[in-house]
């Protein structure tokens, strides 16, 4: 098990390095000279050279990339002598626009993203799993058909449209919710909750729809398994049959999907955060792309990749506990 875990972590690090190399190469090759960008309007060629030297942009590509990775692992400093700026590990560099540390920018915004992701995840798991389960048990009834129709709509509706629709209906027309306004939880929990409610719903609806459809088909498949017939032939009570014999095989694949989806969201919900003006990692990504702020784009990309890769490892390890057939092979 330990060996398995070490192997998984090693391969995760390899994948992250590969992703960082690709992202770095893309920005290195495609984007306009950052030094010109930083220098601004009152610029001289000398000043540009100076900036290049300080950021290491005069170095060849490989050297720059290795410096970048070294900065993440051990920290680095930009420039030399008195003008040197040090950057502690994990160093993702500084924004070309604001000169802020990218790491600080991300850590400042991450709580918002995490709140959005966790709230939405709780909502979509509750609605998606129970909805799918009910549909499967009441297969072919009006409830089943209705729920699956709603689910199809939920998958098809784009987030930005749903977000605007909700805002229009709940805030403008019905005035059930106040106009969104960022308030810390400690200051006014009710307002905080109201502020996050719409993003949660918008984000959760698509996932809940997908999960409901998946859970429904998994449960129906499982109900048709031979071991269900065995369970009935043993004279087990129906609730026990459903709980023990149907749910576990049907829900285990959901864990895989959930791990990936949730990890993906921790990297920022770009559209939802932007539409609701939530200052999370997703909005940071959108803003930095608009301004071509390369170090920030690099940072949020790596963060998203990091969560997806880690999510993968967690799911794989969780599977060795959830499915005995996987457990024994890996031991």
């Amino acid at each position: 098990m330990t060996l398995y875990l070490l192997r998984r972590i090693a391969s995760a690090i390899g994948i992250l390095l590969l992703i960082s190399l690709f992202t770095y190469a893309i920005f290195f090759l495609l984007s306009p000279d950052p030094a010109v960008q930083i220098c601004g309007k009152t610029c001289t060629p000398d000043r540009i050279d100076q900036i290049r030297a300080q950021l290491g942009l005069d170095q060849p590509f490989w050297q720059q990339y290795l410096e970048f990775i070294r900065g993440i692992v051990m920290g680095r400093s930009y420039g030399e002598g008195a003008s040197a700026v040090s950057c502690a590990a994990p160093c993702l560099g500084f924004s070309f626009q604001t000169n802020e540390s990218v790491m600080d920018m991300i850590t400042a915004r991450f709580p918002v993203t995490a709140t959005v992701a966790i709230g939405a995840a709780v909502l979509w798991l509750l609605v998606g799993v129970s909805g799918g389960l009910l549909s499967a048990v009441k297969q072919g009834t009006g409830w089943d058909r209705g729920a699956m129709m709603v689910a199809l709509a939920g998958i098809s509706l784009p987030n930005y449209f749903l977000a605007l629709l909700l805002q229009y209906v709940l805030v403008v027309q019905l005035q059930i919710l106040p106009f969104p306004q960022a308030v810390p939880f400690a200051e006014d929990p009710v307002r905080w909750f109201q502020n996050y409610l719409m993003p949660w719903i918008v984000l959760a609806l698509g996932y809940a729809s997908m999960y409901a459809r998946l859970v429904r088909s998994n449960v129906i498949d499982t109900l048709g398994e031979n071991f269900m017939r065995t369970a009935r032939a043993k004279g087990l009570p129906a609730p026990l049959i459903l709980r023990r014999h149907a749910l576990r095989p049907a829900l285990t694949p959901v864990v895989t999907l959930f791990g990936m989806d949730f990890a993906g969201l921790l990297g920022g919900a770009l559209i939802t955060e932007t539409v609701f003006g939530l200052n999370g990692v997703g909005k940071l990504a959108a803003d930095s792309i608009a301004k071509n702020d390369q170090p920030v784009i690099m940072g949020v990309t790596l963060l998203a990749a990091f969560f997806v890769v880690i999510g993968n490892v967690v799911v794989d390890v969780a599977y060795t506990f959830l499915d005995p057939r996987v457990r024994v092979k890996s031991a």
């Binding site: 398994e225 031979n226 071991f227 017939r229 065995t230 369970a231 009935r232 032939a233 043993k234 004279g235 087990l236 009570p237 129906a238 026990l240 023990r244 014999h245 576990r248 095989p249 285990t252 499915d323 005995p324 057939r325 024994v328």
Partner: protein, 293 residues
């Protein structure tokens, strides 16, 4: 689980056979009207005796057994009479039938791998059958389980009880299914093609085990198979079915030496003979009920 229900079904009516089936029909509704998959089957099983039900795919033999258990798939309807020790089972509620299943009538199925839940240890799957009917602590159920596994000759049962189905071979899995079926000492065991998925040597071992356990416990057995050779080894009585119809019923001796129905004769003639393996053999006439079972 009302105790009165258990008592009314469990006290045998004097003079009644273990299982009496009269005019049993099974019907499924389809978009083009009702389809009978079993038509007016009648037979009886005595204590300690084995009835073999023989037929090709779609002959209705499996549906007959599921109808006895009250386990027909969606929409299946049973008419006629099924009496266990003189007590009518047709028309009983699912709640009442649950007390009968596993406890009074147990089943062993064709494919032991898919018939066991891959997510749970074989021990738990036997224990839950025991506890569903007898209650008691997990510890007590575990002791019964280990004993049941030892009875079907699983070596090192006290360790193997915590293993998962995929860690056993096909023959071992079927032994586990048999242990599960017999741990409550049922009056009747329905074995639905229990050896079909196994290779020939393992098949012989399982057949030996079943007849040995039957001698020990006096359990009545319905043995369903398409394999006449297997039936000739285990059955006291034989019912031949075809396309949902009972074709012929008699003692094994009668059926094998003096078959009356042309279909039975054709089936027997289709068997390879050890003394004349290369002769031209007629094939049994095809039925129209293909794929119904």
């Amino acid at each position: 689980m009302s105790p009165t229900v258990t008592r009314t079904i469990s006290l045998p009516v004097p003079g009644a056979a273990l299982l009496e089936v009269d005019d049993l029909s099974v019907t499924f509704p389809t978009t083009s009207g009702d389809v009978d998959v079993v038509r007016k089957a009648s037979f009886a099983v005595q204590h300690g005796q084995t009835l073999g039900i023989v037929g090709e795919s779609g002959s209705g033999k499996s549906m007959t057994s599921l109808a006895i258990m009250g386990l027909l798939p969606n929409g299946g309807r049973t008419t006629g009479s099924v009496r266990l020790s003189g007590h009518e089972l047709v028309g009983r509620s699912d709640r009442e039938m649950r007390r009968v299943r596993g406890d009074r009538i147990a089943m062993v199925f064709q494919d032991p791998l898919s018939s066991l839940n891959p997510y749970y240890t074989v021990g738990l799957q036997i224990e839950e059958a025991y506890r569903a009917h007898r209650g008691g602590s997990r510890k007590a159920a575990r002791a019964v389980t280990i004993e049941a596994l030892e009875r079907v000759r699983i070596a090192d049962a006290s360790r193997r009880v915590d293993h998962y189905p995929h860690q056993f071979s096909g023959g071992m899995r079927q032994r586990i299914m048999i242990a599960m079926a017999l741990c409550l000492e049922p009056d009747l065991l329905i074995a639905d093609e229990p050896t079909t998925a196994l290779d020939v040597t393992v098949q012989a071992q399982i057949l030996d085990l079943l007849s040995e356990l039957q001698r020990e416990t006096g359990t009545g057995m319905i043995f369903i198979t398409h394999d006449l050779a297997v039936v000739s080894q285990v059955a006291d009585d034989v019912l031949v079915m075809r396309g949902g119809d009972p074709v012929e019923m008699g003692t094994a001796e009668q059926i094998f030496s003096r078959p009356q129905a042309p279909y039975t004769r054709a089936l027997l003639d289709a068997l390879p003979r050890i003394d004349d393996p290369f002769s031209e053999r007629p094939t049994a006439p095809a039925t129209t009920g293909e794929g119904r079972a």
